[in-house]
């Protein structure tokens, strides 16, 4: 029996033949940067997940949990990738108490399906993220992907109230609970956010839910320069209004947005036709709140500045587009590198330097300046020729040098396989790296989960 057949045979013994596959066409649906697993296991409950992990431990195999497989190229390819655990068989809304605004759902449930069920009660989880309909709640949490309305609702760490997961010893563990306030025991579930499957297999997640807003509206303003756009956004921030989003797009990314709207046969707001920097603000609430904010925002406009307010279907289309903004960056080209940059205030000087680097290396750069100090930069080379890859490598490294000089932190979320970077995925190692390694070792002492997905020995 070949090693693959033997692996399949043993997994089938655990789960049954219907829940295991080694067929090459099936395996080809689980690539991580082109690396394929040896087998795919499809558990239907936490106990089966635990059995798979214990089996992997015994056989010294590595496992990688997958959900909708929409973001598997975030992070590095795993050093070993024996078993893909397809979590989509765990897809129940286990507990939902609309009166309590809390829920508990299986990790393999799609976010869209969950949001649809919550919408029946006029509620939602403020995870406004791309890759619907396939993305699962487990994948959304494990990838740590940003929500476009985090300015108002916060990040997953603010409304993820508990989790169940299988640790690296194959034990089913939990953290937190189903109540909105809880300090009992260590907050281990927070560590799972953005861990890319390196700490555990998430099997269930508990969230606080929120009431859906009655209405929303948006405002777009176009500027010839980054400096003007930054200044306008700062003036909106000073208003102290409860914006749900307040983002800036550079001209290249604004053009990508316009193309996406045309593709959907949606009306392209005139602001996108100005080939300039775009400041997008969005807010929500009851009609009087929405109207009040609109008035204040419009009063902030300068004379001669191009700006437009949007509501109804145009607002909704735009809100949707900003929800998928990261996917637009991610899907721009396979020859793109994406950096997530965290800095409290990216200045015009830095933006100009990034522009110069892109020009010098003949790269297209698309920029999304989220509020709360998080920005995304996609650098795209023309093709995957060795020259282009070298150019992209130089572009990334020169950009990260600039970022480090201003004290920013960054993560390289995606880079083509042949592109090499000076730093690791999370930038230069700080004194906290050894602490993270201790966390990894405590969760996964035998390094069974996605070894190498995160750089630095994780």
């Amino acid at each position: 029996m070949t090693p693959t057949a033997n692996l399949a045979h043993q997994l089938e013994g655990l789960l049954g033949a219907a829940q295991v596959t080694t067929a090459s066409e099936e395996l080809s649906r689980y690539p991580v940067h082109g690396v394929l697993p040896t087998a795919v296991a499809r558990p239907t409950n936490s106990q089966e997940v635990a059995e798979i992990v214990r089996f992997a431990l015994t056989e010294k195999l590595s496992v990688l949990p997958t959900g909708g497989r929409s973001k598997l190229n975030i992070g590095k390819p795993p050093e070993r990738y024996d078993i893909a655990i397809d979590m989509t068989g765990l897809h129940q809304l286990v507990h939902y108490d609309p009166g309590d605004l809390t829920l508990s759902a299986d990790a393999g449930m799609t976010l869209q399906s969950l949001q649809e069920q919550l919408a029946e009660k006029r509620q939602f989880i403020p995870l406004s993220v791309p890759f619907l309909p396939q993305t699962t709640i487990g994948g959304t949490i494990a990838s740590g992907i940003d929500s476009s309305i985090r300015l108002l609702y916060g990040t997953a760490r603010d409304f993820l109230i508990g989790a169940e997961f299988v640790d690296g010893k194959g034990a089913i563990c939990k953290s937190g609970g189903r109540v909105v306030k809880n300090v009992t025991g260590y907050d281990l579930h927070k560590l799972l956010i953005g861990s890319l499957g390196t700490l555990s297999v998430i099997t269930r997640l508990n969230f606080r839910t929120y009431p859906l807003a009655e209405s929303s509206a948006s405002h777009l303003a176009a500027f010839r320069s980054a400096a003007e756009a930054l200044e306008f956004r700062a003036s909106l921030e000073k208003l102290g209004l409860p914006f749900s989003n307040l983002e800036i797009l550079n001209p290249e990314f604004a053009s990508t947005f316009a193309q996406a709207l045309r593709k959907e046969n949606a009306v392209v707001p005139s602001a996108f036709g100005r080939e300039g920097w775009i400041v997008y603000s969005n807010w929500e609430g009851n009609s009087s709140v929405v109207s009040r904010i609109r008035t204040d925002v419009e009063n902030s406009q300068r004379q001669g500045q191009f700006a437009q307010s949007l509501d109804g279907s145009q607002d909704r289309a735009l809100r949707e587009l900003f929800r998928v903004a990261f996917a637009l960056l991610y899907g721009t080209s396979p020859h793109s590198a994406i950096l997530r940059i965290v800095h409290h205030r990216i200045s015009n000087d830095v933006l100009e330097k990034v522009h110069e680097i892109a020009l010098k290396e003949n790269l297209v750069h698309r920029l999304l300046l989220r509020p709360v100090g998080v920005s995304y930069l996609a650098l795209t080379a023309g093709n995957d020729s060795p020259n282009s890859n070298e150019s992209l490598s130089r572009g990334i490294n020169a950009t990260t040098v600039e970022l480090l000089q201003i004290g920013a932190t960054y993560s390289i979320l995606q880079a083509p396989k042949h592109v090499t970077t000076d730093g690791n995925l999370w930038g230069p190692q700080g004194s906290d790296t050894s602490l993270m390694q201790r966390v990894k070792h405590a969760f996964d002492p035998n390094n069974v989960f996605a070894p190498g997905r995160l750089a630095g020995g994780f």
């Binding site: 760490r157 563990c173 909105v180 009431p211 999370w426 700080g430 906290d432 602490l435």
Partner: protein
């Protein structure tokens, strides 16, 4: 109970004095008495107390303690309610009272960097003129310190809308149990990698000592309204809370105080609370003027639907502040009712509030104990105050038994042991109600990854019982008898 040999204590004292100066070290029994209490019903006395003034001094003190294999416990103002900052195993207590400087205020980015001994309310005082404040507001905010808040992941009335301490901390400087100084998180938040701040905030001083904290500053709301809703029955008040939650109205705060507790508070504070009602709700809404006006109307409607006798909106800041003074000083007023009380911190799903309050009343009656309720109703965080007289034989034991029954019921309802006070040494033996052996095994591995010899804050969070499969005979807390 002394754990250290006289020779060890003497040598450590000499080295500590050399390092920090005699004015920053305590060793006399009369001085140490002050540090054997916090706000809970348990106690534990340190054998030495040190007051470092810098992170480097903390690191050197930790290394000294390690050299003599002496356990260490960190402490802020000692206002905790779970015994988290008590020296359960004796040893050295590091008190952060003299590391009390606000190091940086960055209003543009809404951050403040502070030392752990800064008093919670002092952050707000430092920025309120500019229209900002620090959101988590424990009732003890006039005296509790940020370092203690971080360790316990403290809450407060306004955490209903704004979250607890963990939601407002973006970076920490830590001294690990081996004396190493590390920084985690980032000023902005969203630091790359695992969310270490999420782990360390609320770890109750069992993983590291916190020596610097970066907190978020929030902008003061444009409009604030405070409502006082008065009820003839606790049932109606609790149904109001259930209904407010179910309608998706999120007030900034929603507090409940029950009837006879109100009398004691009113006698003490004169806050304007009724003396003849079964319960009140203190509800605050904040935000844009338009939003506040609509929320007030909606809340009034719900209160009236559930038979509120009166709904009063505070007419000005003075009246509003007086109502809050009544709430925040309520625990102090309990001294008028009984010589001692045991404050619980269980949390329940909010929809279960009416039945939980009924059960608490039943438990009190069955044990012949008065139990008052002053709590964060909006997030289901109960604070039953079990009144007892420590001078009466068995009264304390009965109070502990009643408390345990209440906590068990919270867990039965899908709730938890503690919402904001922490587990400490007071609730550690109840942890198996919630956690399995596998859960403990993982938490223990995390603990040991940072604090392998348990030199830092030993005897906290984890049950002392050897196994974890079932609740064992509770190791009784040492009773605190008022003098």
């Amino acid at each position: 109970m002394s754990q250290l040999s006289a020779a060890t204590k003497s040598s450590l004292l000499a080295e500590l004095t050399g390092l920090l100066g005699a004015e920053n070290v305590l060793c006399e029994r009369s001085d140490l008495l002050l540090y054997e209490f916090d706000g809970s019903v348990v106690k534990g006395q340190p054998e030495l107390v040190a007051f470092p003034r810098t992170t480097e001094e903390v690191s050197r003190v930790v290394k000294l303690a390690n050299k003599f294999q002496v356990p260490i416990v960190g402490r802020g103002a000692g206002t905790g309610l779970s015994g988290g900052a008590l020296a359960r195993s004796g040893g050295l207590m590091i008190v952060f009272a003299r590391m009390n400087r606000i190091l940086e205020i960055d209003l543009e980015n809404r951050r403040a960097v502070v030392q752990p001994g800064v008093v919670n309310l002092d952050i707000t005082k430092a920025v309120e003129q500019a229209g900002f404040y620090y959101a988590p507001d424990p009732s003890s905010q006039k005296s509790c310190t940020i370092g203690g808040n971080v360790s316990e992941n403290s809450g407060g009335p306004h955490t209903l809308a704004y979250g607890i301490t963990t939601n407002h901390v973006t970076a920490l400087e830590l001294v690990l149990p081996d004396g190493e100084i590390v920084r985690i998180g980032s000023k902005q938040g969203d630091a790359p990698g695992y969310d270490l701040c999420g782990l360390f905030v609320g770890s109750e001083g069992t993983l590291a000592l916190v020596t610097e904290i970066t907190v978020k500053l929030s902008r003061k709301a444009e409009a604030v309204k405070t409502l006082l809703a008065i009820y003839e029955t606790v049932e109606d008040a609790s149904q109001t809370v259930v209904d407010i939650t179910a309608r998706g109205i999120t007030p900034a705060a929603c507090e409940m105080i029950d009837g006879w507790t109100l009398i004691a508070i009113e006698d003490y504070i004169h806050a304007g609370f009724p003396r003849d009602s079964a319960a009140i709700l203190l509800i605050e809404v904040e935000g844009l003027r338009e939003s506040v006006a609509e929320q007030v109307t909606a809340i009034e409607e719900v209160c009236n639907l559930h038979h509120a006798r009166e709904v009063r909106v505070a007419k000005d800041d003075r009246e509003r502040e007086l109502l809050w003074k009544g709430r925040k000083n309520a625990f102090g007023a309990m001294g008028r009712l009984a010589p001692a009380n045991y404050v619980l911190d269980g949390v329940i799903p909010r929809s279960k509030l009416p039945q939980a309050l009924r059960r608490i009343q039943e438990i009190g009656q069955r044990h012949g104990l008065g139990i008052g309720n002053i709590f964060h109703a909006g997030d289901g965080n109960l604070h039953p105050l079990v009144l007892y007289d420590p001078r009466k034989p068995h009264d304390f034991e009965t109070a502990i038994q009643a408390a345990e029954e209440i906590i068990r019921y919270c867990v039965e309802l899908g709730g938890t042991l503690t919402g904001e006070h922490g587990v400490g040494m007071e609730k550690s033996e109840l942890m198996p109600l919630l956690f399995t052996d596998a859960d403990f095994d993982l938490m223990r591995r995390i603990h040991d990854a940072f604090n392998p010899s348990s030199s830092l804050n030993p005897g906290k969070i984890f049950p002392l019982s050897k196994g974890c499969g079932e609740i064992r005979t509770r190791s009784k807390p040492q009773q605190v008898v008022p003098s």
